[in-house]
């Protein structure tokens, strides 16, 4: 049990590393994630539940392990999403800023290479993302949005399922670890 805790908490040597990426890696995956969200649901509407920009935000925040970097990455991806949506600029931006910040903060305490932990964090951050969007939509904009809890939990699970292999693919973009 203590070994598992040690593994998850990343106290074993060589686990708490900061990953670095090439500059292009910060541009291409988020852009592809946004394009995927724009284009693919046209032909496969059942894939509209996938929140790939959120997963990319979570990944970079977790791997960078720097709250400032996580918040900035989340802010930029969120604003890009806002610009391509009908919502006011800042709605997704604020939520993803917070997601990036908290994901990076959490990553300093856990071993984020662990697939199970990645799954749990993806699930948690999707629920957090949807919940905060709902609060913001109702509180700040007076939108008549409904939070459908069962649907959100199912979508969170499906996103987490997708996140596990996606993070493994994104791991290949790492240039070095410090």
């Amino acid at each position: 049990m203590s070994e598992l805790n040690d593994k998850l908490l990343g106290v074993l040597p060589g686990k708490s590393k900061i990953s670095r990426f090439r500059p292009v890696a910060y541009i291409v995956p988020p852009l592809l994630a946004i394009l995927f969200q724009i284009y693919v649901p046209r032909f496969a509407s059942y894939l509209s539940y996938l929140e790939l920009p959120l997963l990319v935000t979570v990944y970079f925040a977790l791997m960078r392990r720097q709250p400032v970097a996580g918040a900035v990455i989340g802010c930029l991806i969120g604003l890009a999403q806002d610009a391509l949506s009908q919502h006011p600029l800042g709605m997704q931006g604020i939520v993803k800023t917070l997601v990036g910040y908290f994901a990076a903060s959490i990553s300093m305490r856990f071993d984020v290479e662990n697939v199970a932990l990645r799954f749990i964090l993806s699930f948690f951050f999707f629920v957090f993302h949807q919940l905060f969007l709902w609060v913001q939509g109702r509180g700040l904009h007076g939108m008549s949005m409904d939070l459908q809890a069962p649907q959100t939990i199912i979508f969170a699970f499906l996103n987490a399922v997708v996140a596990a292999p996606l993070f493994l693919v994104l791991d290949r973009l790492k240039s070095e670890e410090l």
Binding site: I34, L35, Q37, I38, Y39, P41, R42, F43, S45, S48, Y49, L50, E51, P53, P67, V68, A71, V72, C75, L79, A80, Q81, D82, A83, L84, S85, Q86, H87, P88, L89, G90, M91, Q92, G93, I94, T97, L98, Y101, S105, Q130, L140, H141, M143, S144, M145, D146, Q148, F155
Partner: protein, 380 residues
């Protein structure tokens, strides 16, 4: 201060980012204006990519699919399978060509019979956000599209333009949460507000429990929202039941179907009348046969015996028979006919008397009924 910032550097950056975006939000909400620059940049950057992908898909998708398919057949080296695959491929291609031709024809026909000024647009992408129900179309401000314009399809309304950019526009589908349209039912003229709930169906609010509404009844736009012209089909009532604050009505929108690829943007809307409901013929109503044609009408009294249709005709006929029975010629000086005597029946006049027998004297006239007499005199 410097010490504080360096100590709480992470938190300071977070607060800075959040507050900056909150100010951005506040500006948009208070000024009721957008920040078009960021959106224009983003859309202008993404639209060519989306157009390119769409063009690539529509142009080469079929060819690649066919090539791979044919390669598989060649590897199997079976002539019959090859022919079957080829025919299937051709059939699919022709079916898709036919479907696209039908869609284009339907759109063109719809445009020609709709008085509103319409602009055809093609969907090139969907909006961001999980389960989003907004789409990008390939028409923008350069084509005359403006924010707030309605979009329709031959089957019904689709949504409205929520943002217009130079090369593309963002259309919010009617099924998206927060979208609304004024509607009126076809049969019972029940008014309400159609609202999207983020599902494939919509609800109609503000319908009183006392209002009459039936499942299957059609809803049309009422024109009250000043976005959709009156008379556009919206959808059919899928479910209706009484609720606490009013009727709960679920409508299946007819214009927003899966695989929506084209739509029409209403540049200049013209209100139309609601079509009359198609009511089935009632079984307890007697429908009389059509009246006879003019040629089958009874002939006038002038045409001869049996042709009398009015009292005046019958009286004239009676007097003629009286006169002819008494051998008197009307309009000639001499004997005067006794009109108090009963007229001779026609068959008696025409029949020959029996041989050797004296002709039967005419019957003595019966006293005329004063009332009848007066009536006849009056008619005369």
């Amino acid at each position: 201060m410097e010490n504080f910032l360096s100590r709480y550097r992470n938190l300071s950056v977070l607060l800075l980012l959040v507050v900056a975006q909150l100010l951005l939000l506040a500006y948009q909400v208070k000024a009721r204006d957008d920040v078009p620059l960021i959106r224009v940049w983003a859309v202008t950057a993404v639209t060519p990519l989306a157009r390119g992908i769409e063009g690539l898909r529509s142009g080469t998708g079929g060819f690649l699919q066919g090539y791979v398919f044919l390669k598989d057949v060649q590897s199997e080296n079976q002539r019959l399978k090859h022919e079957l695959g080829d025919l299937r491929l051709r059939n699919r291609f022709l079916a898709s060509e036919l479907a696209s031709a039908d869609r284009a024809k339907a759109l063109a026909e719809f445009r020609s019979r709709t008085p509103s000024k319409l602009l055809a647009a093609r969907v090139i992408g969907t909006g961001t956000g999980a389960n989003s129900r907004v789409v990008f179309v390939d028409r923008g401000t350069t084509d005359g599209v403006k924010k707030g314009m309605a979009t329709i399809a031959p089957d019904g309304i689709v949504g409205k333009v929520v943002a217009a950019y130079p090369t593309a526009s963002l259309v919010q589908l009617i099924t998206e949460q927060g979208s609304a349209a004024g509607v009126v039912s076809q049969k019972h003229q029940v008014r309400g507000t159609l609202k999207g709930v983020g599902l494939n169906t919509c609800i109609v609010e503000y319908v009183q429990n006392e209002d009459k509404l039936e499942p299957g009844e059609w809803f049309y736009t009422s024109g009250a929202d000043r976005v959709f012209p009156r008379g556009m089909p919206v959808g059919q009532v899928k479910m209706v039941r009484e609720g606490r604050g009013g009727k709960e009505v679920v409508v299946a929108p007819s214009g927003v179907q899966a695989g929506l690829e084209e739509m029409l943007i209403v540049l200049d809307g013209v209100h139309q009348l609601l079509p009359a409901p198609e009511t089935p013929a009632a079984t307890d109503v007697n429908i009389l046969a059509a009246p006879p044609a003019e040629s089958q009408q009874p002939a006038s009294s002038e045409s001869g015996e049996g042709a009398a249709v009015t009292d005046a005709d019958r009286l004239k006929d009676r007097y003629q028979r009286v006169v002819s029975g008494q051998g008197v010629q009307l309009g000639v000086k001499g004997a005067i006919a006794d009109f108090n005597r009963a007229p001779a029946p026609v068959q008696v006049q025409s029949a020959q008397p029996p041989a050797g027998g004296s002709p039967r004297p005419p019957e003595s006239p019966k006293p005329a009924d004063p009332a009848k007499k007066n009536g006849e005199a009056t008619k005369q």
